[in-house]
C-alpha cells in the first residue's frame, strides 16, 4: 500500500513538454530522483504529490490517483522545496498545528514524536524565523512525518544545506527508509548524494534516462572519460609527454591551451603534476572542462 506507480505519464505546458512518457514504480526504501536543473524533477514530484494534473497517463499513490484527492495526504507526507513556512510560529507549534490539521487524536504527542525523529527537541520552542536553513528543512520533515505516513516526498531537501546538515538529512532518510517507508527525494547534485545506498531514477529533459542501483550508476560516472583544459609554459612539449601515459586517451592543441581527455580521473591528476615537474614545465591552469552536471547526466543518457 505504499508504492507510487506511474504509467506513461506525460505533462506539457502549451507546446513545452515537461515530462515525457515516464513509467516507473517506486516502492519502500530510499529513492533519489536525480537530474539537472530544468529536467522535470520538480514537475514529476508535483505530479506525484497531487499538485499538478498529468496531461496523459496514469499516476497512483498508494493505489489512488493523487490529483484532486486531498485524502492521499493521510498516507503521504510532503516536504516542499520552498522555504516559506509560518515563520512566526515556533517549531513545536508548526508541527502541532499540522497534527491538528490531520485531526490526530493527540496532536501534542504526535508533534513530540515527529520532532524527536528529526532531533529538533532542543530548538522546538524557538520561532522558525530564527532557524538555520538545515533546521527549517528538519522541522518541515517533522511536520510531514507527524501523521506517520508510509510515503514521504521531499523536493530538493539538500538545497542550501552545508555538508554536515546534508549527512544528517541523508542518515535520517535512510533510517526512515529502513523502517519500510517509501522515501522519494529530488536532487540535482548527483555527486553530493554519496551516502545514498538506494535506487535512483535519473530524469533528463523530461524523460527517464537511467534507473537502478545508485552505486552502479555512480561507478559509470566515475569511470567516464574526463576532459581537462591545461595551460602551461610549453603546451606542445607537455602534450607530447602526456600522450604516452596510459591514463590519457587524447590530446589536442587549442588556442586556449591543451585539451586533454583522460580515462582515469585519479591517475591523470596524480601523474600530471609529476610529469610537469620532471619536464620542467610550469603549470598555469588546470580546469575540468566537462564537470557541469548537464555533461554528467548527458553521459549517463548516452551509455
Amino acid at each position: 500500500m505504499s508504492t507510487i506507480e506511474l504509467s506513461h505519464v506525460s505533462r506539457w505546458y502549451g507546446n513545452v513538454v515537461a515530462i515525457n512518457d515516464v513509467t516507473m514504480t517506486i516502492g519502500p526504501g530510499v529513492t533519489g530522483l536525480l537530474g539537472p536543473n530544468g529536467a522535470g524533477k520538480s514537475t514529476l514530484l508535483h505530479l506525484i504529490a497531487g499538485f499538478l494534473a498529468p496531461s496523459r497517463g496514469e499516476l497512483t499513490v498508494a493505489g489512488t490517483a493523487s490529483w484532486h484527492n486531498p485524502g492521499i495526504y493521510r498516507t503521504v507526507g510532503l516536504v516542499p522545496e520552498r522555504d516559506s513556512v509560518y515563520a512566526f510560529l515556533t517549531g513545536e507549534a508548526f508541527v502541532r498545528t499540522t497534527a491538528q490539521l490531520h485531526k490526530l487524536p493527540d496532536p501534542e504527542a504526535a508533534a513530540q514524536r515527529a520532532i524527536g525523529i528529526v532531533e529538533m527537541a532542543d530548538a522546538q520552542d524557538r520561532r522558525i524565523s530564527t532557524y538555520s536553513k538545515g533546521m527549517r528543512q528538519r522541522i518541515k520533515v517533522a511536520a510531514a512525518l507527524v501523521h506517520d505516513p508510509p510515503i514521504l516526498l521531499l523536493d530538493e531537501p539538500f538545497n542550501g544545506m552545508d555538508p554536515r546538515q546534508r549527512l544528517h538529512m541523508m542518515d535520517l532518510l535512510h533510517r526512515l527508509g529502513e523502517q519500510g517507508r517509501t522515501i522519494l527525494f529530488s536532487s540535482h547534485i548527483l555527486e553530493e548524494v554519496e551516502r545514498l545506498s538506494g535506487t535512483i531514477q535519473v530524469i533528463v529533459a523530461g524523460r527517464l534516462a537511467a534507473s537502478g542501483d545508485f552505486r552502479a550508476i555512480r561507478r559509470l560516472m566515475t569511470s567516464r572519460p574526463h576532459v581537462f583544459m591545461v595551460r602551461t609554459s610549453d603546451d606542445r612539449r607537455l602534450g607530447a609527454s602526456l600522450i604516452g601515459r596510459p591514463a590519457v586517451t587524447g590530446v589536442e592543441l587549442t588556442g586556449r591551451g591543451l585539451q586533454v581527455r583522460a580515462s582515469d580521473y585519479g591517475a591523470f591528476t596524480r601523474e600530471l603534476a609529476v610529469l610537469a615537474r620532471d619536464e620542467e614545465i610550469r603549470l598555469r591552469e588546470l580546469l575540468p572542462a566537462d564537470e557541469s552536471l548537464e555533461s554528467v547526466f548527458t553521459y549517463l543518457v548516452e551509455t
Binding site: Y13, V16, A18, N37, G38, G40, K41, S42, T43, H46, A49, F51, L52, A53, H68, P70, G71, Y73, R74, V76, G77, L78, P80, R82, S84, V85, Y86, F88, L89, T97, T98, Q100, L101, H102, K103, K140, A143, A144, G206
Partner: protein
Amino acid sequence: MFGIQGRVVAAITLRATIGRKRAVLFALAPLVLILVTVALKLSHPERASWPVDILGLFGLTVVLPLTALIIGTSVLGAEIDDGSIVHLLATPVSRGVVIGAKYTVACVLTMVFAAVPILVAGLIATGGATKLALGVFAGALAGSVMYNAIFVMISVLTTRAIAWGLLYALIWEGVLGNLVAGARLLSVGQYSLGIANSIAHDPSLNAALSLSTAVVAGLLVTAVALVIAVRRLASFSLKGEPA
C-alpha cells in the same frame, strides 16, 4: 464552526494577516475616515448633506472596498504568493474548509476595520444612532461579506489580485457603475448602498437598487464567488522549474 481544522486555519490566518506590514494599510483608511469626520463636524460645513457624502461616498464606496481589498486578497493570496499554502494543502483538510475559514477571518477583520469605523463616523457625523448611521453600518456589514467573497476569489484566480481588485472597484464600480445602469446590477457597492438606504431612506445616498434586489443579487454573487474560489483552490497547481 468548521471543527478543529477550520479553527486552526482561521487562527493561523488571523495571526499571519495581522502580522504583515499590510496591516498598517487597512488600519489607516478607517483612521482617515474618522479624522475627516471629526474635522468636518468641528468646522460646521454649509452643505447640510455632508454626513451622507462622507459616509456614503467616502465610507461605503472608498474605505469599505479598499479595506476589503487589502484584507480579502491577503488572507489567502499572501500564502499563495510565498508558497506556504502548500503546507496547508498537503493535509487532508477539505478545500471548502480552507476557503470558509479564510473568508470568515476576512469578513470579521473587514467588519472591525471598516464597518465599525463607518458606524463610529456615522455616530459622530449625525450626532447619534440615527437612521443614516445605522443604515450605512448595515450596508458596510453586508458589503464586508460580499466584497470579501469576490476578493478571496480573485486571489485564488490570479497572482495579481490587488491590481484586478482595484480594477474592479475603481473601473467597474466607480466609473461604469455611475455611467451604465446595467453595471449597477452587478456592483457590490450598489448592493451595500441599497441595503444602507433601506434603513436610512435618504435620497442623497443615490441608491439605485431596492432592498430585495440588493439582498438577492448580493447573496448570489457571494455564493458564486465562493464556489469558484473552492473549485480553483482544489485545482491549485505548483509551477515546475523553468524548462
